[in-house]
């Protein structure tokens, strides 16, 4: 699968070192880019630097282009960071299995995000908010390092009108009105109906591990917990084996997994 050429339509700095690109396909003038499911990812190709897997973080209903939130970390993301509106990049995708929306039907939905983990969850939030009838309620638990390192702050304020949002930071500032401490604190204190709850998690693995412990201690079944994993990706099509995780290829079988199915792999160190 060869990359398609996309053009950066808009670049927005979320906070230093983290930025969001809105991109539009060059050929898509006659048609929309391929549809995606919340939780899927694209391979973004910075010409001359290489390719990396980045989750889709825009609305699946937006058929004009894709949105990706990227943190500068390695060589490729540094090259992507230098892109400005009008610059070109290559895109392959969308790839992978996303969040199972059907699992949320009629349930109390807990969306648990840590740091940049809100990015792959945002398309899910858009979909759920677009069809609130299908679920009992939606709650977002969002943990981050500092208030100014939270993603999509304007939208968080907007969403607060339609769902309960609990935000927690490790280090607050004078204006911070949310929790200070780890997100497992408010999660542990939340009242929920465990047999009618479904949880979608994305964030650092350590954070997800502690959140899963909190959820299972509250009797949420392991089969009602879904998480998005990250591993090195190369081909993104299940051929090269770079992303192998136990018997799974994260690019093809994931990145979203049901916890009941991957529990034994999740607890193995350095797998």
């Amino acid at each position: 699968m060869t990359p398609e050429v996309f053009r950066v339509e808009q670049r927005r700095e979320e906070f230093p070192g983290t930025f969001t690109l809105r991109i539009r396909g060059e050929r898509a003038k006659n048609g929309s880019p391929a549809e995606f499911q919340p939780g899927q990812f694209n391979m973004l190709y910075a010409f001359g630097a290489g390719e990396i897997a980045i989750s889709l973080s825009g609305s699946p209903r937006d058929r004009d282009g894709y949105v990706h939130t990227i943190r500068t970390h390695g060589f490729v993301s540094q090259a992507l960071e230098r892109l400005q509106a009008g610059d070109l990049l290559g895109v392959r995708g969308p790839f992978g299995c996303g969040w199972p929306l059907s699992a949320a039907k009629g349930k109390e939905v807990l969306i648990i995000a840590g740091g940049l983990g809100l990015a792959p969850l945002r398309p899910l939030i858009y979909n759920l908010l677009g069809d609130t009838q299908s679920v009992r309620n939606i709650r977002l638990f969002y943990g981050a390092r500092r208030p100014d390192e939270m993603l999509y702050r304007d939208e968080l304020a907007q969403w607060a009108g339609s769902m309960e949002i609990v935000q927690s930071v490790d280090h607050g500032d004078a204006d911070w009105a949310g929790h200070i401490g780890v997100i497992t604190g408010p999660l542990a204190g939340a009242e929920l109906d465990p047999q009618n709850t479904v949880a979608f998690l994305c964030g650092p693995e350590v954070m997800m591990r502690f959140c899963i412990q909190t959820l299972t201690a509250k009797a949420v079944p392991e089969s009602a917990i879904y998480l998005s994993m990250e591993r090195n990706m190369k081909c993104a099509t299940g051929h090269c084996g770079h992303c192998q995780w136990g018997p799974n290829f994260v690019c093809k079988d994931g990145p979203v997994f049901n916890f009941a199915g991957v529990q034994s792999w999740f607890n193995i160190r350095a797998l």
């Binding site: 290489g50 980045i54 943190r71 990015a119 929790h179 204190g189 964030g203 650092p204 350590v206 990706m233």
Partner: protein, 160 residues
């Protein structure tokens, strides 16, 4: 309006306690209100109480010279604030400050300490519950220290 014994009985922290002990603890308690900004505890001051927060938000803080107060954690409705009353030297280890109007039940730790010496069963029941709070706080502090969000790699970025 619920009496204190009833309030404590319904609080998860006191679940499973003997009725007679609960009644005694309730007799050591009183409702109190703190205004926004008011200190509930000051670091190094004698710690002779603990609080069941009924409503409002409490900042657990430490004063850093030339910097000001540093908030380490916030406590909310349903949380227990204060365990220093149970362990020598019975001094508060941090400041506790009301971030909004806080309604709480203040429990007299000094009176409970004396009673715990006389009645080891009550002492053990309380010690078990407070040990849980201390370990929970230690756990969350360790996770905060791990600075997990800083180490986080971008979702799916191979980092190459």
């Amino acid at each position: 309006m619920k009496n204190l014994a009833q309030l404590l009985r319904e609080h998860p922290f006191f679940h499973g306690m003997d009725e007679e002990h609960l009644e005694f603890i309730a007799r050591c308690g009183q409702n109190c209100i703190f205004n926004r900004g008011e200190y509930i505890a000051r670091e190094n001051a004698p710690a002779d109480q603990f609080y069941v927060i009924r409503d409002g938000k409490v900042a657990v803080e430490s004063y850093v010279p030339n910097h000001g107060s540093l908030c380490l954690q916030t406590l909310h409705s349903g949380d227990i604030f204060g365990w220093s009353w149970l362990f020598p030297p019975y001094l508060w280890t941090f400041d506790g400050r009301a971030l909004d109007e806080v309604h709480a039940v203040r429990l007299d730790g000094k009176c409970l300490r004396d009673k715990c010496d006389e009645d080891p069963k009550l002492g053990y029941a309380l010690m078990k519950r407070f040990a849980r709070i201390v370990t929970d706080r230690l756990h969350t502090t360790r996770v905060q220290l791990m600075d997990v969000y800083n180490q986080q790699r971008p979702p799916l970025d191979s980092g190459q």
